[in-house]
Structure formats: structure tokens, C-alpha cells
């Protein structure tokens, strides 16, 4: 594991655009008006800065998530839950064949700190990397201001169910959590709840679709209900999932509204496997050996169903569990 000292250089590189450069291990990061530049011992990689910041936002907000967060077909991270691999070309067949792949392992806290600092410095005023492109300003140009409010949102995780005492609260106009512009037709009615005295914490229901309609982020699952390790994670999706997610376990999608089209690729090589079109009411598994990216033409509601059991990555990696959830 790399234990190199984290360094963040004080001065921006290159043409005095005002941005800091960042280094950890043998990876170095810089940005200009349009691109993130990543250098590592075997080479250089460039990612459009808006895509990079959107991917970086998810990686930071999700604590490196489950499995692999591919920023694109070359660069990404693999979560080992305490440590994290950062790589170039590791999951790209061409890079691997040419032995041009590169990976370093870091303490998760160290890499997260560098990523957080990078996100804070490189996100300009007016650009929200969690918003849909149509909802926010541009990420381009020289450094101007910041958007700390946007990048420091906390991930919402229900312990049992939204709305129960000591659990996540409802989203309200008063709290600034207004209905998203593309969900103004989603009913906001409340269920009728008639709890007998003493059972107020047990007899409970809430309008989940209304709750989701007030989310101000995209492609950012938040837990709304739990049954032990089974987590329903609702999310609103619009345009493109910034990352290609390679899960280290099976996950499932329930399309609650509208439509998402998914590109499915082999998790290790990137070879295309399928296109999955999901419409309202559709339910589909994402096997444990693939990666996926979604395209949502209209803002849609998706429920991502996760199994939070921490033993699963090793059980799938060892072959104890098959990557497909059901055999028939």
C-alpha cells in the first residue's frame, strides 16, 4: 500500500488559472478551463472537467460506494472498505493487454481528503456537480468562486423508514426542499395514518414518490427503508449517470417512473454485454460481474435495491456466489 505523504501544492499549475494541483502517491491532478489532467507513472489521462467533477462528486459523497466507480473507460477507484485502489487502465482491456495499467492502494480517509479538497477547489460558483446539466451553470473557465454548499450535502440514509421518530425527516418547502421542476405533476398527497395510542411508532406510512420528487440531486441513491441489510435507495435520475458503476455484489433496479436506458459492460474488460431499457414498473438485476451507466431522457424515479452485507464482496470475488441472482 502507498503511504506517500499527501501534498497539495499551493499554486495553480500552468497558465495561472487559479486552480490548485493535487498529488497523492504517484498520481497528480491538475485542471484547466476544460479538462482534468491526471498523470501517473505510466502516462497521462484527460477527462472533460464537467464529467470529472460529476464523477468526483459521487465518489466523495458515496465514500467510494460499492465496488468500482469508473470515471470513464480508463480512470477510477475500487473500494475495499478501509482502503481504496485508484487506477488508470486497470479495467480496460487494451491497457491491460499492453501492460499500461497502473494502480495504487490508499487509506480511504487519505484519498477522500484529497478528493474533497480537489472538489472544493475545482468547483466554481454556479456549477453544481450533483445537479442535472440543464439545472446548473458551467464548470468551465478560470477559477471563479466556489460552490461549497452544493458539494457538502450529506447523504441521506434512513435507519428504518423515512418519517419515523429519530429517522430521516420529510422534505418540505419550508426547508427549501421544493418539488423539482420535472416532477411538478407528482401528487404530494399524504397517506391516511390512524394509529391507536401507543402505536404511533409502528403504524406509519409516507408518500415516497413525493419525497423523491423533492430531491435536488441526481444519480445519488438515498436509503428510504431498511429490512436488516436490505436497503431501498430512492434516487432521481436525469441525463447521464456520470460514472460507470461496477458493483461488487448483485444490485437491483426498480423503475418507479418514466424510463432509463442502461449500457451494460463486462466489469473487468469493458466489453459490451447488453442494453437494458427499463420503464415504469420494470424490475431488473444488475449482476455482480458487470458495470453499468444509465441514460434518463426525462427526470425519472429509480429505486436502487442494495444488500449492505459487508461479507458479500469477498464471497462474490472468491466464486462462492455466482454473479447472477437467480438461476432458472
Amino acid at each position: 500500500m502507498s503511504t506517500a505523504t499527501i501534498s497539495t501544492t499551493g499554486a495553480a499549475a500552468g497558465r495561472g488559472l487559479g486552480y490548485k494541483t493535487f498529488s497523492i502517491g504517484k498520481f497528480h491532478f491538475g485542471r484547466d478551463e476544460y479538462f482534468a489532467h491526471i498523470t501517473y507513472p505510466k502516462g497521462l489521462h484527460i477527462i472533460p472537467i464537467d464529467n470529472f467533477l460529476r464523477s468526483l462528486m459521487r465518489d466523495v459523497a458515496w465514500g467510494f460506494f460499492y465496488g468500482t466507480v469508473n470515471f470513464d473507460h480508463v480512470f477510477g477507484t475500487v473500494n475495499h472498505y478501509g482502503t481504496v485502489d485508484m487506477f488508470a487502465g486497470l479495467l480496460n482491456e487494451g491497457y491491460r493487454a499492453a501492460k499500461q495499467d497502473y494502480v495504487e492502494t490508499f487509506n480511504s480517509k487519505d484519498l477522500k481528503k484529497v478528493f474533497e479538497d480537489m472538489l472544493a477547489d475545482w468547483t466554481n460558483e454556479g456549477f453544481d456537480p450533483f445537479a442535472a446539466p440543464d439545472e446548473t451553470g458551467k464548470a468551465f473557465g478560470p477559477k471563479h468562486g466556489n460552490n461549497l454548499k452544493a458539494i457538502q450535502r450529506e447523504r441521506m440514509v434512513a435507519k428504518r423508514m423515512v418519517g419515523l421518530p429519530n429517522d430521516l425527516t420529510y422534505r418540505t418547502d419550508a426547508a427549501g426542499q421544493t418539488i423539482n421542476r420535472q416532477f411538478t405533476d407528482v401528487p404530494q398527497d399524504k397517506p391516511e395514518v390512524h394509529a391507536e395510542p401507543g402505536f404511533e411508532n409502528e403504524v406509519h406510512a409516507f408518500n415516497m414518490f413525493a419525497y423523491v420528487s423533492r430531491s435536488d440531486v441526481t444519480w445519488n441513491p438515498s436509503v428510504v427503508s431498511c429490512v436488516h441489510d436490505s436497503q431501498f435507495c430512492s434516487t432521481t435520475e436525469e441525463q447521464i449517470l456520470p460514472i460507470t458503476h461496477g458493483n461488487d455484489r448483485v444490485e437491483w433496479f426498480i423503475q418507479a417512473s418514466d424510463e432509463i436506458i442502461w449500457d451494460i459492460e463486462d466489469g473487468k474488460t469493458g466489453r459490451p454485454r447488453a442494453k437494458v431499457t427499463m420503464k415504469a414498473g420494470d424490475v431488473a438485476a444488475m449482476p455482480a460481474d458487470i458495470r453499468h451507466r444509465g441514460y434518463s431522457p426525462k427526470r425519472s424515479m429509480l429505486i436502487v435495491w442494495e444488500n449492505n452485507d459487508g461479507t458479500l464482496p469477498q464471497r462474490y470475488a472468491s466464486g462462492e456466489l455466482t454473479p447472477y441472482p437467480v438461476e432458472f
Binding site: V162, Q182, F183, E202, N207, M208, F232, D282, P325
Partner: protein
């Protein structure tokens, strides 16, 4: 600016997507549609449409009055279509062996204290709390997705409900 039109689907009006295979088997995605499943189910038959080891999502056609069910753990019911009442009783005696996973069907309403009831519509999610007994009542056909654990009531018929051909 045109008003948005959010499409939810229903028993009477749904569209189904699908898997376009480039390499592999469509069965790997266990692709189904909960409205289609419910349209072919018996009332309150709990058909698995999702499975992650011991955890399942059951699609339930809510029509008429259901049996009484109980589980030793929480469950959550999301309404995808319809208007459904859920009535709860706290049994005087536990109805489910401690640690048993999944819901069980009771022979009738257990003796106990009425806990209350909820009326839920599309998009609403109701808690089915551990240790309670619950009954669904729906005047017209609706669809529930129940987040739970595989159990005695879970019906698995994947080959019938899932896309099997590319």
C-alpha cells in the same frame, strides 16, 4: 414551457422495456414488470420479482381482503397502483417463531390489540412492523411491492415472469 408529464404505469396502463443482449443471457438480469406480474397473479399471492440472497421483493396483486400475515421482522410495502388499506393488530401471543424469516399466513385475525390502520395510494410506502399482524383491503385491484425476506409465503416462478429470450 410545457408542463412535465411523469409516467408511473398501472395495472391498466403499463409499458415494458427489455434486455437487448449483445453478449450473454437475458436471464442474468431477471427482467420483469410488476404490473404484468400482478395482472397474472391471484389476489395476495406474493410473487418474487427481486431476490438478493435471502432478501426478496414481492409483487402483490391487492384485490379484496387479504389473509392476515405476520413476520418476525419489519417489512415495507410500496404501492405502485391503487388505494389500499392496511390494518394492524398486536397479537397477545407471538404468531411467528423468533428468528423465523419471511412472512407467514395466519389462519385468521389473531387475538390482540388493534394498532390502527393506514390508507395508502400510489407512491406511498407503509411499514409492516415486526411482531404485528397485518391485513390488506382493496376495493379495486392494485399493486404492492413488498420489501421483505424470503419465506413461506414467497412464490418463485422466475421462468414465467422474466424475459428469457434475447
Amino acid at each position: 414551457m410545457s408542463s412535465p408529464q411523469t409516467y408511473f404505469g398501472s395495472l391498466k396502463n403499463y409499458q415494458k422495456g427489455g434486455v437487448q443482449v449483445i453478449s450473454g443471457d437475458p436471464k442474468h438480469y431477471a427482467f420483469s414488470n410488476c404490473f404484468e406480474v400482478a395482472s397474472k397473479s391471484k389476489p395476495y399471492e406474493k410473487v418474487a420479482v427481486g431476490k438478493n440472497l435471502k432478501y426478496v421483493i414481492e409483487a402483490v396483486r391487492a384485490e379484496g381482503t387479504s389473509p392476515w400475515f405476520a413476520a418476525d421482522h419489519d417489512e415495507a410495502a410500496l404501492v405502485m397502483d391503487g388505494e389500499i388499506e392496511v390494518h394492524y393488530v398486536k397479537p397477545d401471543q407471538p404468531q411467528v417463531p423468533a428468528g423465523k424469516e419471511g412472512s407467514i399466513k395466519l389462519s385468521g385475525e389473531p387475538k390482540g390489540k388493534k394498532m390502527g390502520w393506514v390508507k395508502v395510494r400510489r407512491g406511498h410506502m407503509a411499514l409492516l412492523p415486526a411482531g404485528s399482524a397485518y391485513q390488506f383491503r382493496s376495493a379495486t385491484p392494485g399493486v404492492l411491492l413488498v420489501q421483505t425476506i424470503l419465506g413461506d409465503c414467497t412464490v418463485e416462478r422466475w421462468a414465467e415472469i422474466c424475459q428469457t429470450k434475447a
